[in-house]
């Protein structure tokens, strides 16, 4: 194993063992060894987080692991950030997503899983939590220049707030600036079509697939 390979492996391992300190150390070593930060992120950290995501999918790891893995990645990226141009940092981002559970709905477990799986797949995700107002989705999307707004709802009695989101974007004349995707227990493909959003995902794996397609378009 070359020195570079070893450092990339350490970055990946640190994420897989949820060890933020080890991730920071490996990131520092990577900077010292003059490894391209983009490479360190993509072939080290992100690779590790994808393994965590796959293991979650297989039922070997749990939601807290996804969160801890992402934390280790973020801690290391902070170190690398200082050593790369903004454009390079941007190039490691597959797309920016604002995600939340709609107003009146406090179910947030599905949301957390989807957010974590998106992160594990290279998206930059801003999670605005549950019981999120329509206007908060939009404000956050403007602020972070999001590509996608993703909304979750777990109740038939909160699904209508998804429709509001689309209408509010239309009213503001910015509907075409964002792709919108929806999901959650009672949400169906038909509902997604009926309210005119761009994507629907039955589960987190599908959410990732749909998000990848939406940023391609």
């Amino acid at each position: 194993m070359t020195k570079e390979e070893e450092i990339l492996q350490n970055l990946s391992d640190a994420v897989q063992s949820f060890d933020s300190d080890a991730a920071i150390d490996a990131a520092k070593a990577s900077v010292e060894a003059k490894i391209s930060p983009v490479k360190a992120i993509e072939e080290g950290l992100a690779k590790g987080l994808r393994v965590v995501g796959d293991k979650f999918e297989a039922g070997e790891l749990w939601l807290p692991h996804l969160v801890l893995g992402a934390e280790a990645l973020e801690a290391a990226v902070k170190v690398l950030e200082g050593h790369m141009a903004i454009e390079d940092l941007e190039s490691t981002n597959r797309g920016t997503i604002v995600i939340g559970t709609v107003e009146g709905d406090i179910h947030d477990l599905g949301l957390r899983i989807v957010a974590s799986m998106l992160r594990a797949n290279g998206f930059r995700v801003y999670d605005i939590g549950c019981d999120a107002r329509t206007l908060n989705f939009i404000e956050k999307a403007k602020e972070v220049k999001a590509d996608i707004i993703a909304a979750s709802s777990l109740m038939t009695t909160t699904m209508p707030f998804m429709k509001d989101l689309v209408e509010a974007l239309e009213t503001a004349g910015i509907r075409d600036q964002y792709k919108v995707m929806v999901g959650g227990g009672p949400v169906t493909e038909e509902w997604a079509k009926a309210i005119g959003v761009d994507g629907y995902g039955k589960d987190a794996a599908e959410a990732v697939r749909v998000a990848k397609e939406l940023v391609k378009k």
Partner: protein, 469 residues
């Protein structure tokens, strides 16, 4: 020393508890739960859906108690941790009366503690239809009439709010829901009156506190012998909406029916962590909510990225958790604990009946006091629910109070083998089932032959397997 009063608990929740970020609280649960499952050597065993191991139940209890003592509860609105010291928790558990009285007049029922493998019948069969998505009006009355006319039903759950009120779309937490909360309760009173059981207990389960509170009225509305549902949010969390439901129930004097349970794959980790955090959640229901009746789902749902059973209750790991959790609470506390299980399959199907049997295997012989509904968990169509599956809960619940755990274990295994493979992603977990107007002749309000045949068929199979009705 007395246990902390509700006012003292609220003071900690709203004013004095230490402030902490939600994420830090969640991660603390994870690290403490992970440590405790190791310390107590609790391991998921897929081969034993219903355990007969008393010491495992006691270990789970001790781990759950320790988890609650170390971590406490969390209020989402104030971001405050509500902590108790060990002596306060012990005292709170000691003060439980081990009894709850529900219903009125000839429908008055006393819920009494049941031991593991207790021969006494379950005190309550609390049927009902959750996510029913029913239209308002006459069919809603018929639905609850079809449940109330079942003699084994001692009470039921009403909720969540319907999709419309006065013909207008209802969104959670809006004033239209407040009006609907009141309407639903008056329709239920009509349903139980028609069934000839005007004092029958029911619980209101609107989303917002105000919608439940608006329904309270000793005459025409929600009576003191009825109840309000509040939930412990997984894991170990509450919010002002739920605390408002609790405070109001406390002041009004009605039953506090608390739903609580742990999520497999959630903040406490896998099946083992979900089991012990579900016990901690039940303790929180006693100490923070000062509940009258608990409905604990112990291990609910399996959080995964793409398996079909990510939110199903009646799966192998959920039954494992439920059977141990039931025994842990029964052996160590005076909590009146009913079982909740949402099924993968919908009403009128063989699979839903099989799931109900499996859920009861992990609860009634394991010392739970009662049962509380089973409806398909999501992606429902309007009118999905009927009295028939409630009749089944009742009949099987009573029959299962006469069996031992080893029989329950083999029966649960039989059932799992019949339906486990049908929980697929494509079917959203199982067959959707049938609607009230399909299952019942709405004129006579009796189940149609076709569905009675399915019912009797499953019952016959159970008899062949050795269950006595």
């Amino acid at each position: 020393m007395a246990a902390p009063s509700l006012w003292e608990v609220l003071d900690r929740a709203c004013n004095t508890g230490p402030v902490m970020a939600t994420k830090d609280f969640d991660m603390k649960i994870f690290s403490v739960a992970t440590r405790l499952t190791k310390e107590y050597d609790i391991k998921y065993d897929p081969k034993t859906p219903v355990t007969i191991d008393d010491s495992l139940a006691d270990d789970a209890w001790n781990a759950g108690l320790q988890l609650f003592t170390e971590v406490g509860a969390y209020c989402m609105n104030s971001s405050r941790v509500i902590k108790f010291d060990e002596s306060e928790i012990k005292q709170g558990l000691k003060e439980l009366r081990g009894e709850a009285i529900i219903g009125e007049g000839s429908e008055r029922r006393i819920l009494k503690l049941r031991k593991v493998e207790d021969n006494s019948p379950p005190s309550i069969v609390c049927g009902g239809v959750i996510e029913s998505n029913f239209p308002e009006g006459e069919n809603f009355v018929k639905l609850y009439q079809s449940i109330a006319q079942e003699p084994l039903i001692d009470g039921f759950y009403v909720g969540p709010p319907l999709q419309s009120s006065e013909g207008r779309l209802v969104r959670s937490g809006t004033p239209l829901e407040t009006h609907l909360g009141r309407s639903m309760v008056s329709w239920v009173r009509e349903a139980i009156r028609r069934a000839g059981r005007p004092g029958l207990h029911f619980i209101s389960a609107c989303t917002s506190a105000i919608a439940n509170i608006a329904a309270a009225d000793p005459n025409e509305g929600l009576r003191r012998s009825d109840g309000i549902v509040s939930t412990i949010m997984p894991e170990l969390k509450t919010d002002y909406e739920n605390l408002n439901k609790i405070v109001y129930s406390h002041d009004y004097g009605c039953i506090k029916h608390v739903y609580n349970g742990g999520m497999i794959g959630g903040w406490a980790g896998g099946p083992e962590g979900a089991l012990i955090v579900s016990i901690a959640n039940a303790i929180m229901a006693v100490i923070v909510y000062q509940m009258s009746v608990g409905a604990s789902y112990h291990a609910l749902g399996y959080l995964r990225a793409s398996t079909p059973n990510y939110s199903a209750f009646v799966t192998r790991p959920c039954l494992w958790g439920s059977s141990i959790g039931s025994q842990a609470l029964s052996r160590n506390t005076k909590i009146i604990n009913t079982a909740v299980a949402m099924t993968n399959a919908g009403p009128g199907t063989e699979m839903q009946f099989q799931e109900i049997v499996a859920a009861i295997c992990a609860s009634i012989p394991c010392g739970r006091e009662g049962l509380s509904q089973g409806a398909r968990r999501f992606k429902v169509v309007p009118l999905l629910g009927s009295g028939l599956e409630n009749r089944f809960w009742g009949e099987v619940g009573h029959a299962m109070s006469k069996v031992k755990r080893d029989f329950a274990n083999s029966l649960a295994e039989e059932m799992l083998q019949k339906f486990e493979h049908r929980i697929t992603r494509e079917s959203d977990g199982g067959p959707l089932g049938h609607t009230l107007d399909e299952i019942y002749d709405l004129k006579t309000l009796q189940p149609r032959k076709r569905f009675l045949d399915v019912y009797e068929g499953v019952k016959k199979e159970l008899e062949d397997l050795g269950l006595e009705f």
